[in-house]
């Protein structure tokens, strides 16, 4: 059967809803929305087969603006709702849009289980390291010492890294991008869309109102080449304005080196392998942070594993194959009865 796409090729416009976008002017969420709307028409999926599920937060207003099925759900619960949707309709392309508070504070439990289960959800976490919607309290990704309305003396909570958490929970696809680099955002979303199982993309997102410039170094033209390192499969970790800096493994720790100095060459650097069966390298990369190290951007890990919805289907089919189709009459009149004495 012809999908509607064959008749009318979809465009970005087809994914823009008629709702006024109500993020603050300059919010990083705009660029992510635009990139999502840009890549969806290229995926060859009919529009009615997309669903966007969010929790609560500024980031979670996302489904309002998408001309697709969507649900603005409960704070932190989007992965659970999306799991139910995906399992009952595996042919749908189900996306979750969440924030650092939504996914990692109140929704931490669902988040880790979505990661380990490897169910076909595309999860975009817009990490602005603050609770935006409730007007600027610190979040589980806020740095220690951060002063916010809820931490007038500075936060004493140790933050966690969404990428490290996803990897630790066994995610098969983990990537990171930054809102200001729209091409990179688009390429990470395309990679996520192509992945089988849970695909997690953290997008470093600027909240201009409550945590402006949290990623200034990564977004500023003058500094970004030194503040970030792009991960490319099979390539050494080289970065810097003059592409002369690199990351070397020194024991179990990272070491920042300059190519050409102390006889260091590209051959000494860590070579990225997103397919590595052992998660050590990906986790090692997840520990690199500004200002001591450049922030890795790109795909940390991409493994081919069976998706939960496939296994689930196979389980039901397997039962039917060995035991035959269900027969209620036979079950009711069957042999598994006992006499109550």
């Amino acid at each position: 059967m012809n999908s509607p796409n064959d008749i009318h090729p979809l465009t970005k416009k087809d994914f823009e809803s008629d709702q006024d976008v109500r993020w603050c002017p300059g919010c990083g969420d705009y660029s992510v929305l635009a990139q999502v709307q840009k890549i969806l028409p290229t995926l060859g999926i009919a529009r009615e087969n997309f669903a966007f599920i969010s929790g609560i937060g500024c980031s979670s207003r996302f489904p309002y603006y998408m001309e697709t099925y969507g649900m603005h759900s409960i704070h932190g619960r989007a992965p659970a709702i999306a799991t139910g949707l995906k399992l009952s309709r595996p042919e749908l392309s189900v996306w979750v849009v969440t924030g650092d508070g939504d996914a990692l504070a109140i929704g931490g439990n669902h988040f880790i289980h979505a990661m380990r289960r490897n169910i076909g959800l595309k999860i975009i976490l817009l990490n602005n390291r603050i609770y935006g919607l409730t007007k600027g309290q610190y979040s589980p990704t806020s740095e220690m010492g951060k002063r916010t309305k809820s931490t007038p003396m500075g936060s004493i909570d140790r933050p966690f890294s969404p990428v490290a958490l996803a990897l630790g929970a066994g995610a098969t696809f983990v990537a990171r991008s930054v809102d200001s680099d729209v091409k990179h955002v688009a390429s990470m979303l395309e990679r996520a869309a192509a992945h089988k199982g849970t695909a997690f993309v953290e997008i470093l997102q600027n909240c201009v109102v409550f945590n402006d410039d949290a990623y200034g170094a990564l977004s500023n033209k003058a500094t970004r080449a030194d503040a970030g390192v792009f991960l490319e499969h099979g390539k050494p970790l080289v970065f810097g304005k003059d592409r002369n800096k690199g990351i070397k493994l020194s024991g179990w720790s990272p070491e920042l080196v300059t190519l050409g100095e102390n006889a260091v060459s590209e051959a000494d650097l860590v070579v990225h392998d997103e397919k590595a069966a052992n998660g050590g390298l990906a986790f090692f990369l997840s520990q690199l942070e500004n200002p001591q190290f450049p922030v890795p951007l790109g795909v940390f890990r991409d493994l081919e594993e069976p998706a939960y919805e496939e296994l689930n289907k196979a389980m039901a089919e397997g039962a039917r194959a060995t035991k035959g189709p269900g027969d209620l009459g036979r079950l009711l009149n069957g042999g598994e009865t006992w006499t109550i004495k």
Partner: protein, 405 residues
Amino acid sequence: MNAVLQPKPNYIVCDGNEAAAWAVSLAQVDMVAVYPITPQSSLVEYLAKFIADGRLGAEIVDVEGEHSVLSVLQGATLAGARTYTASCGPGLAFMFEPYMRTPGMRLPMVMTIVTRDTLTPQSVWGGHQDAMSVREVGWIQIYCENLQEILDTTIMAYRIAEHHDVMLPVNVCHDGNYLSFATGRVELPDAAEVAAFLGQRDVNWHVALDPDRPMAVDPLTGGAGGPGPALFVRYRKGQCQGMQNSLAVIEEVHADWARRFGRHHAPLVEAYRMDDAELALVTLGSMTGAAKDAVDEARARGQKVGLAKVKTYRPFPAKKLAEILAPVKAVAVVDRSVSFGWNCGPLYQDTLAALQASNIPAMSCIGGLAGADITITHFARVIEACAELAEKRSPVDTLWLNEHD
């Protein structure tokens, strides 16, 4: 009786959330646990600031969600700490599991509900549906009408909760938006006077951990055939008794407050212009201000209308309300929430139960949902409907306000 001490008045200008924060600070709580939610967020931000300013020497912990908030406070209260939190709407819903356990453990916590309408559709605006949805869980629930009442009641709540005849958690409810963000003048009581009012710190409540009396809290009771159900019944009965005891304690505490601070708030139900009233409105929370204005206007027109404001909602002051309403010909109850199974408001049902021995007809009015304003004009309409009910005495349908205005 005259006030024992007349402290020099110290006025501040603040909103309802700040008034609650001042009360918590004056009550010198030991531990605050929070998760932000609209319209509660600024309340706990004030507390964080008071702690940072050195005004309140409490521990504050920002946890990962409301379920943890109440769980953390259970741990702290078991250790004898005086605790506080605030939440509303979806936050209260997420808190439900530990919320349900708190009264049975007889933990004297105080928690503000900055009332908010519940989902769905999504709404961040005021309404009583959140607090009403948990009205049968065993927390004492007290509603405030104005900013001063928030401050005074929040302090009083600790004395009520910690009273040995009560030992139950207390919700002090103030309306989201209308009270949380309304600004006005509030008198701050003197800190030493508040300390004297609250009296000697006493942590010897039912399950507070005590090295001389080691125990594991909340074991599983066995089923039928063993001693389990009987134990359970005794617990339940004790809990109900504590609830009933609180009625007298709430009156006593309000009377002592009035004596010490010169401000009297009706503890259970306030009667307003009820002396020769033939019609009565029954209200809850901040709507009462507009309702009193409507009563005044109706009185000016020659209509004999009065009002009963329910302040203590759980336990329900049925006797007090029945007494106040006894002389009238008809009653109109205004709820800011609904009881789905009955197609009317919950306060209306409580009022019906209180009136069961009389043959006074009553009607249910529902307004102020999702932040809608119940204006003097709305109340005038309610008074008209009530007058009609007094005349016809036949049952009337629920009156929905704000459906088109």
